[in-house]
Symmetry: C2
Subunit: 131 residues, 2 copies
DNA sequence: TCTTGACATGGAGTCCACTCCAGGTGATAC
DNA sequence: GTATCACCTGGAGTGGACTCCATGTCAAGA
């Protein structure tokens, strides 16, 4: 697949795809004889993996570390597993934070649903619903 | 409360607190006669609100818009409610994305738990567990 | 009175994750 | 053969969200 096709398929700009490869977020993509990228199945799986990690909020540094470990072969299986476990902890913590935010947001919206509510936070001291 | 106390209480640096106020993420904080900030209950509630919105991934622009609407008074109740509803949608979408990522992460970790697994993605074509 | 320390301000600098651009190459269409 | 087009590269630029810094003020303690 060309970079344009991959870009459409995963909704990631060609510039970003090249950037990811340059900084090691993707292992080198195969090229045709004129040096043009020709993404294969493995490349696509890495792209999906990176999209997934990005959506999970994993920093670029941790993502490239994972790729680097992978490319060093089986000796790094343990380290890769550790990295994923650590990122899972971080992800779950972020999700818990977001859930708390969502709960608060829902409370606040509920206040706006009541007519005449002063809808918090109060301008200064006292007035407005307790939070 | 002084900026240092608030900083400790909410784990937000004094620089960030001043920055938030400067760009309108917090309504002006009361000052003592020498111009030093003296955070009151309302200021603290705004800080909590901003921490909450930040944890929810709300951009600074949307947060300052909310504050600006609030400061314009009751005429903007509807607009504020709309803004919160919109941000709730975005938040729920992000959480759904993260849940998908978590599911995938768990699958991947499961592969690492099995001894001798080739642990994806494959280096090139074929080998390695299907995803 | 002098020093210290917490605070103030405006503005510059940093970091992350892209995003854009100038200049160049190779394959295809006319 | 030349125009067009998609692609290439290295490097500069951008936007968001801080973070740091030089310089200055004020109140309190030695």
């Amino acid at each position: 697949m060309t970079i344009a096709e991959v870009s459409r398929k995963y909704d990631i700009s060609p510039d970003t795809l090249r950037y990811y490869e340059k900084i090691g977020l993707l292992p080198p993509v195969p090229r045709n004889k004129s040096g043009v990228r020709d993404y294969d199945a493995a490349s696509c799986q890495w792209i999906e993996m990176m999209k997934c990690m990005r959506a999970a909020g994993v920093q670029i540094e941790a993502r490239s570390e994972y790729v680097a470990l992978y490319r060093q072969g089986d000796a790094t299986l343990g380290a890769r597993r550790e990295l994923l476990l650590e990122q899972r902890e971080l992800l779950m913590a972020r999700m818990a934070d977001m859930q708390r935010s969502l709960d608060r947001l829902n409370e606040k919206i509920a206040l706006y649903e009541r007519p005449n509510s002063a809808a918090c936070p109060p301008e200064r001291e006292g007035a407005g619903p307790a939070e």
